[in-house]
């Protein structure tokens, strides 16, 4: 069993090393895609164009990018209510995602699921989930299926710090461990369960401590550092793929926007100073500084990623807005199979 690395420090000034330029560029592009998708979605929500709820991922991009860059298309993920970043990083298209946010029939769920249920089976995206912690046992089942069928794909389940207080997390972790399944548990510890700080919902400092209860190795990484996340994820995924069972990664990260929407006004649950401190180590800025410093990419190349992504997003939003709404006559479509 691997020892838990003691690498946690949200203030770590160093960005990790030992990844190749193509990987740095890949991580960067995944993060820019998330950042722009989310900031535009927030803008659309503020403009009153989107129905329902919107749980934005901005600030946590390094986690989704770092993990997903370690996965293949046939590897499966289960996501959370804050799932857009995972979907984007796993390769789900902007068109179907924006269309779903708009409730259009061209959306990823034909307008039946909305933000919290975006999925794409062709990309191994087994869905965002509106129930905290519920995706954990489902990922265990996906991993079970892979082994049953003799495939070497793995399953990754994303969850927040708050989700580790729910039974489904504990049952799923124990089930994966006892069955020795290829599951990677990724805790995105952003410090808050909705509006409650971690200190208000558990007595632990490190969620990773919970892995030990299930005989599962774990590692803590700086969740603002995509390269650090990527290295940990690569190790965990390779380990799982090789049949060594589950592992947990705790990524210490931060949510720039509120639990829901862009800026909540009713409950001042965290200080502006705290937000500013985390933003000073912005994960996208960090990867760009690293890329330029070590020659992985030029500034012009990085800027080109932003430009191309902006264009793609503008086109996708236009596509969504021009797309038809679902026909109420088809309300009962897909309640049952067959």
């Amino acid at each position: 069993m691997a020892q838990r690395a003691s690498t946690t420090s949200k203030k770590s000034p160093q960005v990790s090393t030992q990844v190749s330029p193509p990987v740095v560029k890949d991580l960067h592009e995944r993060m820019v895609r998330i950042r722009l998708f989310e900031t535009e979605a927030g803008r659309l929500m503020e403009a009153g164009k989107l129905p329902g709820f919107l749980h934005l991922y901005v600030g946590q991009e390094a986690v989704a990018a770092g993990v997903m860059a370690a996965l293949r298309d046939d590897d499966q993920i289960t996501s959370t209510h804050r799932g857009h970043g995972h979907a984007v990083a796993k390769g789900v298209g902007f068109r179907e995602m924006y269309s779903e946010l708009y409730g259009r029939v061209t959306g990823a769920c034909l307008g039946r699921g909305g933000s919290m249920h975006i999925n794409d089976l062709t990309r191994g995206m087994l869905g965002a989930n509106g129930i905290v912690g519920a995706g954990v046992p489902i990922a265990v089942g996906a991993a079970f299926a892979a082994r049953y069928k003799g495939e070497d794909s793995v399953a990754v389940t994303f969850f927040g710090d708050g989700a580790t207080n729910i039974g489904a997390f504990h049952e799923g972790a124990n089930m994966a461990a006892i069955l020795g399944l290829p599951v990677v548990f990724v805790c995105e510890n952003n410090g808050y369960a909705e509006f409650t700080p971690q200190s208000g919902h558990m007595l632990l400092t490190d969620v990773a401590d919970r892995a030990a209860a299930y005989g599962m190795p774990s590692v803590i990484v700086d969740g603002m550092d995509a390269i650090a996340v990527h290295r940990a994820a690569t190790e965990a995924v390779e380990r799982a793929r090789a049949g060594a069972g589950p592992m947990m990664i705790e990524a210490k990260t931060y949510r720039y926007f509120d639990h829901q929407g862009v800026k909540g006004l009713r409950h001042p649950y965290r200080s502006d100073e705290e937000v500013a401190e985390w933003k000073s180590r912005d994960p996208v800025d960090l990867i760009e500084a690293r890329a330029v410093a070590d020659g992985s990419a030029t500034r012009a190349e990085l800027d080109d990623v932003w430009r191309r992504t902006r264009e793609e997003i503008a086109e996708a939003i236009a596509y969504a807005e021009a797309s038809p709404l679902p026909d109420p006559a088809d309300l009962l479509l897909n309640v049952y199979s067959g």
Binding site: R112, Y148, A168, E171
Partner: protein
């Protein structure tokens, strides 16, 4: 005995021997596993022990630990395992032992298994079978004796079947496994040892089709699960009094075959609905409402419901016997219906 319903015509197989309810279930499951490599079983003590009700006897010997999986006592993770595996193309059978235990995994059943197809825009199916034992009668008290079909039948996306005898235990189990939706198979604990004629070959019983267990002209009795047998016994008693009741076994309570019920009501003009579950908020209320919506003009009396009183299931045998509806209460209910005109 004049009409043959569509549902009763779907059972062409000729039985050749008797088998107990639990062995019929076991045989159907084993045959479904032989039929489809993607079928596996997971649950507490299902493999090594064969299940606390012997439902899974000998399956480990034939199918091995790859397809018969003993799990921790973790119902949420167990059902979640089934949901994830089903989403990836397998056909899991997960066993919840006692139906009462669904309380600890209702999220995975209701919010995940039942809704995934719809919420995901039809991108996948969840061909999950959940087996469990329901019902009172073993002195198992309030946490091991409930009939919670109304909870599940209320959830769009789920199917729920309630086998009343060995023949339906096998056929409905096979159909549940073959079905592309999450299906809960509610086996009845009291019936486990009861024997009936069961064909040796594999067969399915169509889900969502009621069966007319006995034809009659005076009262329609719609009976769920174990109450079918009680209703048939009541029918014998009433027949001696010159009253012929028609007994309808929905077999599947979600989806519910109301057409067969409506057709019967049009013939008999009187209806009694009987189930083990408490009467309040039970399926009897739904069935009564649908009958009144559609065939009110054919009714010569209000629809009568018989179920359990609004109480947890008691332990002491004398109390438990008073709690669960039986043939005497069904017969009495039919007499009451006939007294009204």
């Amino acid at each position: 005995m004049t009409t043959t319903t569509e549902a009763s015509a779907v059972t062409p197989v000729v039985a050749t021997r008797k088998l107990t309810y639990v062995k019929a279930f076991n045989e159907g499951l084993a045959q479904a596993m032989r039929e489809d490599e993607n079928v596996f079983v997971a649950g507490e003590d299902v493999a090594g022990y064969g299940g606390v009700f012997r439902m899974f006897d000998n399956l480990l010997d034939e199918f091995g630990p790859r397809r018969m999986i003993d799990t921790p006592i973790s119902e949420a993770a167990l059902v979640g395992l089934g949901v994830g595996a089903a989403a990836r193309g397998l056909r899991p059978v997960v066993d919840l032992m006692f139906m009462d235990f669904i309380g600890v995994c209702l999220d995975q059943i209701v919010n995940q298994a039942a809704k995934m197809k719809y919420m995901f825009g039809g991108a996948l199916s969840v061909p999950l079978t959940i087996t469990t034992a329901s019902g009172a009668g073993l002195g198992a008290a309030a946490q091991h004796s409930q009939s919670l079909e109304a909870w599940l039948a209320h959830v769009p996306g789920l199917k729920v079947v309630m086998p009343c005898d060995a023949y339906t235990a096998k056929g409905l189990t096979v159909s549940a496994i073959r079905d592309d939706n999450p299906v809960v198979v509610m086996l009845n604990k009291v019936l486990l040892g009861s024997a009936g004629e069961v064909p040796e070959e594999i067969y399915g019983i169509p889900l969502g089709r009621a069966h007319t267990a006995r034809q009659g002209s005076d009262v329609t009795v719609i009976a769920l699960g174990r109450m079918v047998g009680e209703a048939l016994a009541a029918a014998d008693e009433l027949s001696a009094e010159g009253v012929e009741i028609e007994v309808i076994d929905p077999r599947t309570v979600q989806p519910l075959d109301t057409e067969t019920m409506f057709a019967s009501v049009r013939r008999t003009n009187r209806v009694l609905v009987v189930h083990e579950a408490v009467t309040f908020g039970g399926l009897g209320a739904e069935i009564a409402a649908q009958i009144q919506d559609t065939v009110f003009d054919y009714l010569d009396a209000p629809v009568l419901r018989i179920g359990a009183p609004f109480s947890p299931v008691p332990f002491s045998p004398v109390l438990e016997k008073a709690y669960v509806p039986d043939r005497a209460r069904i017969a009495q209910g039919c007499r009451r219906l006939l007294e009204r005109s």
